[in-house]
């Protein structure tokens, strides 16, 4: 298991960075936000991402994907962190893809995976129900009545929920065990409300109110609870990779600013007070880089065996990105508080990435639980 990229992975990294910085700089996100774009992402760009192989990076080859691993998906997520381009990469190409791969029936897989890989369809995963991430407290449930299985419950922070062609819902089955159900968002009994988020990325609240499930709705090709765990861990590692990209980007911009901004007749980067803080941040970013690499590589070894490494990476990346964006605003001074400067967009997105699927508090606690204290 390696913590450095091999030759093919290095090529993927270079091409992902080049493609994203050329086609979707930060102004791309601004444009979507300021025009209050209804889709919240560019479908045209997403199709081009499909041509690059991004959309199906984790989809098996037999379904038209690249059949690559978490390391490769993480490389793309890290590149995304550099320009904050909003795409269904995390929701559809990682979370839903893994859920379908691990627990989908053959019919569900062949219906959805090829369309995910081609960028034609977006599939979302609905997990969280409360303000803070608590995957063990699942209140959405299926009950059986005369009409069949009926789904009830409320979800929030569902990434790309309002633009999804299908939604995979984590809910308790009639026995009370966690399971995954594939739902058509257009059916009666599904109410979707887009929530405009601080980071201008897609999210929705979804209410399932007496939704009658089709007999083939359940992901019964594998263990639903295990598949959910795999998807969540991969999602956490991807968010860690995105936050690493964010930290790298704002740090580079901040160091550049320290080297050009003058006050008191000298470059502010000459002040030791700022030099030491910048150097400390450098260390935090470098060590987080290693933790993220470990989590991604571990998941490729065993998608269900990376919990501790994933929590370490998510906790580190959350704390590091938080420090990086705060230092960036502080060191830019007043201009750092303006909407015109991009730094604020990175701060907002970092906050969302921190929160999604558990912040550093959640994951530090989790490491303690896993280590038995």
């Amino acid at each position: 298991m390696a913590l450095i990229l091999n030759e093919q992975q290095t090529m993927l990294r270079d091409s992902a960075h080049a493609f994203i910085s050329e086609n979707a700089p930060v102004s791309h996100l601004r444009q979507l936000r300021d025009s209050r774009d209804e889709t919240g992402y560019s479908k045209a760009l997403w199709k081009r991402c499909a041509d690059m192989g991004f959309c199906g990076v984790m989809v098996p080859e037999e379904h038209g994907g690249m059949e690559l691993g978490n390391v490769e998906a993480g490389i793309i997520m890290e590149a995304i962190g550099h320009t904050l381009v909003p795409t269904p990469m995390l929701s559809s190409s990682v979370l839903a893809t893994i859920a379908l791969r691990e627990a989908g029936t053959a019919a569900q897989q062949s219906r959805w995976l090829p369309r995910i890989a081609s960028g034609e369809a977006v599939v979302a995963l609905a997990v969280d129900e409360s303000a803070r991430h608590r995957p063990d407290h699942l209140d959405t449930r299926c009950r059986s009545d005369s009409r069949g299985l009926v789904l009830e419950g409320d979800k929030l922070a569902v990434m790309d929920g309002h633009v999804a062609d299908a939604i995979i819902v984590a809910a308790r089955n009639p026995d009370g065990d966690p399971a995954l159900y594939l739902v058509d968002p257009k059916e009666r009994g599904v109410r979707i409300e887009r929530t405009i988020m601080v980071d201008a990325h897609n999210a929705a609240r979804i209410r399932f109110d007496g939704l009658i499930l089709k007999p083939d709705a359940i992901l019964s090709g594998g263990n639903g609870a295990r598949a959910l765990g795999c998807a969540l861990d991969a999602g956490r590692a991807m968010l860690a990779a995105e936050m690493l990209g964010i930290a790298d980007e704002v740090f580079a911009r901040t160091v550049a600013y320290l080297s050009e901004r003058k006050q008191f007749g000298q470059l502010i980067g000459e002040f030791q007070a700022l030099q030491h803080r910048a150097s400390h941040l450098y260390c935090e970013i470098e060590f987080t880089r290693a933790a993220v690499a470990q989590a991604l590589a571990k998941l490729d070894e065993n998608p269900a065996g990376g919990a501790e490494d994933v929590s370490i990476a998510k906790a580190r990346a959350g704390a590091t990105a938080t420090l990086a964006v705060q230092e960036a605003v502080q060191m830019h001074g007043g201009i750092g508080m303006t909407d015109e400067l991009d730094i604020g967009l990175f701060m907002k997105r970092a906050r969302v990435c921190q929160e999604l699927f558990g912040d550093d508090n959640f994951h530090i606690d989790h490491v303690g639980v896993l280590r038995g204290y």
Binding site: A2, L3, Q275, S279, E286, R316, G368
Partner: protein, 395 residues
Amino acid sequence: MNSLADFRRETRAWLEANCPPEMREPIADDSERCWGGRHWTFKSEAQRLWLERMAERGWTAPTWPREYGGGGLSAAEAGVLATEMRGLGCRSPLDSFGIWMLGPALLKYGTEEQKLEHLPKIVRGEIRWCQGYSEPNAGSDLASLATRAEDAGDHFVVTGQKIWTSYANFADWIFCLVRTDAGAKKHTGISFVLFDMESPGVSTRPITLISGKSPFCETFFDGVEVPKRNLVGELNRGWDVAKYLLTHERNMISSIGDRGAAPTLGVLASERVGLDAEGRLDDSVLRARIGQFEVDEAAFRLAIRRFGEQARAGIPVNPAYSSALKYYGSELNKRRNELLMSIGGAVALEWEGDASDDGARARDWLRSKANSIEGGTSEVQLNIISKRILGLPGA
């Protein structure tokens, strides 16, 4: 690739056959380490045998060339050896400033004669070295050192004082920075010389630290004669050698934060502090601090591993990266020791007596405070990162 697998198999078999069982038990305290030297008394026959067998293969210095007594291993093979030793719990056969610090500098800057004279003795643990760098008025500002070496024909005459010389009172030889050109700018008038600590005019005085231990000395030179053939590198260019060597020292100190099989803090704490009904440490704030520490420590260890992988893959890494490791590793070790004191509570404060093992934990805690001072303070490391990695102006 196959040959590396073969090497792993052979290495494991050899270690299993040759590492005495006593040398596979974790080291309980520093007195069990093997430092070697002219006056060394082995703590056990197993310790003697383990050093002899490893030195025989050159595996005390695995990557040094065979002609100087080293193991002649590639970086990848040395990595395999280290992994296999860790796997079997083998102790380090020899702790040595000669291996960690002087050797790499001699390999790069030494003459053939110097390499042949000194390196094999370092490998076999026959000569114990100390480092003469810091002076009372040259700490962080090391280049302002004042110990002078005057030209006396075929030898130098060295006069001055060093401080914080680790284990100078046990050392056989010293590698030492001396001023050979008082008129030059401070970095350019320094030379790097080697001499025997038994030379007339050398004396040492141990310094008692806040831990009650005396690992450091004041070292005095009063007209010590040093043959000119003991000059390493060019005259007045000793700063180059010193800087090169410091990066190795930093790697060594940063590895303090990298503890192999030591129990995690959380496990230690749950034994001492106890768990609540839900199986969590019965002090939620301490638990959170320990968790935070363990996450940071894990990232740090992974960064060291990644650093090693980059080196083996031939990926260039900024040499100043060692400053990042040194800075973070020493700060982590201080945090670890503060947490250990919290876990130990009042018992850990008993300076003498059996319950605290004569204040072992408190002494380690106090000792750890030097981690961010020795080998360049944390502030100096941050200066180096600012200048050499970030390229900030005026750094």
